[in-house]
């Protein structure tokens, strides 16, 4: 790994975002608006209290997935990835550069959405707010890793958005947002046990409900998925192609 190249890549990705105000808005403002919309739908009642934490996970996860998958697909199709890999860039420099840049975005996103939910939208959080933010960032990075990974299996932007209904929406339906995972039919509960987003939501629920939450287990699972997806993503970055 080359620190100079990793940092240069992270800075470059953030500079690109800086030129694209609409995408910045989608990453930072849209999750807040959607969370507010859900608060309004449930009129801030008890259901809001139950699904609020899951929403803090789900919306940022979707945005991060979308932006990362399309950004890395563009690197693949525009020839810039091939150019970088013909230079001293290692695969890991490239992946970590992206993870770092979107990690910064994830922190901003998590702070905005969490502060909004806790203050204006009266979401009660029993655990420490710092832990809530940490979990939110980890969960957003999961979206980044999944986006990086799936971009290898699409040839066009049209194909990459098809992974939304195929890979993302099922996770949202089974992650405990609609119904607590324990109340799902057994088969679906088992399926939800192997989906990464379930653990992301479990960790967030724990922080909200328990004053001394233990998120080590769920957090480790989320991190393990993130690193595995990044490692798998690295194997799909090929210097030599046909």
């Amino acid at each position: 790994m080359n620190v100079r190249i990793t940092l240069a890549t992270a800075r470059r990705v953030l500079t690109q975002l800086g030129h694209d105000h609409r995408t910045v808005a989608m990453l930072l403002v849209v999750p807040c608006l959607l969370i507010t919309l859900m608060w309004w739908v449930y009129d801030g009642g008890p259901v809001w209290g139950q699904i609020g934490p899951a929403l803090l996970v789900v919306f940022p996860f979707i945005m991060m997935f979308l932006v990362t998958s399309i950004a890395t697909l563009r690197e693949r199709t525009s020839g810039t990835l091939e150019r970088l890999l013909s230079m001293p860039t290692r695969k890991l420099d490239f992946l970590l550069g992206y993870a770092l840049a979107f990690g910064v975005v994830a922190i901003l996103q998590a702070v905005l959405a969490s502060v909004l939910a806790i203050t204006l939208l009266d979401l009660e959080v029993a655990g420490p707010v710092a832990l809530l933010l940490t979990v939110a960032v980890l969960d957003a990075l999961l979206g980044v890793a999944l986006g990086l990974f799936v971009s290898a299996f699409a040839k066009t932007e049209f194909q990459v958005v098809q992974f939304m209904p195929a890979l993302v929406i099922p996770q949202i339906l089974l992650c405990g947002l609609l119904l607590p995972r324990a109340d799902l039919p057994t088969v679906l509960e088992v399926i939800s046990d192997v989906l990464p987003l379930s653990y992301a939501v479990d960790a967030m629920n724990e922080v909200q409900r328990v004053s001394e939450p233990s998120v080590l287990g769920d957090g480790t699972v989320v991190l393990a998925f993130t690193f595995s997806l990044l490692a798998l993503g690295a194997t799909t970055l090929r210097r030599r192609t046909g």
Binding site: R12, G79, L84, S86, M87, P88, T89, R240
Partner: protein, 256 residues
């Protein structure tokens, strides 16, 4: 005895050092099509070699093999004494693809600053490279807002960062006006006289006279000729590179 072996290895190494590119029996298959079939080629250092041939003759594939980004079936590609694409070549070989590969959503200067960081080249190279491709007045414009010719020059400027010993340029002057084309060829000449090697593909045959050596490829990745322009003209009795090429193709067909 040990000494003898050592000397031979050293002699062999220095012999390989003399060549910028050495290719033996290169075979590349893309999909169902054999693009290069047993190609041999040697390019000396410090020269400009023009790679000419119709589209589909394997020019880009050959260049990709030299950079080491092309999957090959068999053969050996040695660049500056090392296997093509090996780690030690990554900042010594520069490559410009036919389709510009820079970031549309960065300015010209931001693009070059990023690639300079990746290469470990000094930041002073950024303005130098922008000047060399005549984009100084567009340095702070987004690449997406440039014309096609300007955009491809941003991609070319990236190859001028640092001190590459070999520049592999795939149709760098396509879509450029005659004045700019002449300026770029003057630049290529200066880079070569500083000791670097250039391999430049083109299908504009009149650019052939700016090259020290020409490689004429025909469909199927066959080397029709590898010689100086004057030798080719003498051999074929043709007036220019284009007619020499046509002459060689028809000779080839008669022999076949």
């Amino acid at each position: 005895m040990m000494n003898y072996v050592g000397d031979t290895t050293a002699a062999l190494a220095s012999q390989q050092q003399e060549h910028a590119i050495q290719i033996r029996d290169l075979r590349v298959v893309r999909g169902e099509r054999t693009v290069l079939d047993g190609l041999d080629l040697t390019v000396g250092r410090g020269s400009i070699t023009g790679l000419l041939g119709p589209s589909g003759s394997g020019k880009s594939t050959l260049m990709r093999a030299i950079i080491g980004v092309q999957k090959i079936v068999s053969g050996k590609v040695t660049v500056l004494g090392a296997p093509a694409g090996s780690v030690q070549l990554r900042d010594r070989v520069a490559y410009v693809t036919q389709a510009p590969s820079v970031y549309q959503d960065l300015t010209v200067r931001q693009n070059l600053a990023y690639f300079a960081d990746v290469l470990g080249a000094p930041r002073s190279d950024v303005d130098r490279a922008i000047d060399q491709v005549d984009l100084a007045s567009y340095a702070d414009k987004l690449a997406a807002n440039l014309s096609g010719g300007q955009f491809s020059r941003v991609s070319l400027a990236v190859a001028l960062l640092g001190h590459p010993e070999l520049l592999v340029l795939d149709e760098p002057t396509v879509g450029l006006d005659p004045v700019l084309r002449k300026e770029l060829w003057d630049l290529f000449g200066r880079i070569a006289s500083d000791g670097a090697t250039l391999l430049v593909s083109s299908h504009v045959m009149d650019e052939a006279q700016r090259c020290d050596d020409l490689i004429l490829l025909r469909e199927g990745g066959m080397v029709l000729a590898h010689d100086t322009l004057s030798n080719l003209l003498e051999r074929t009795g043709a007036a220019d590179a284009e007619h020499a090429f046509l002459q060689l193709v028809s000779e080839e067909e008669i022999h076949a």
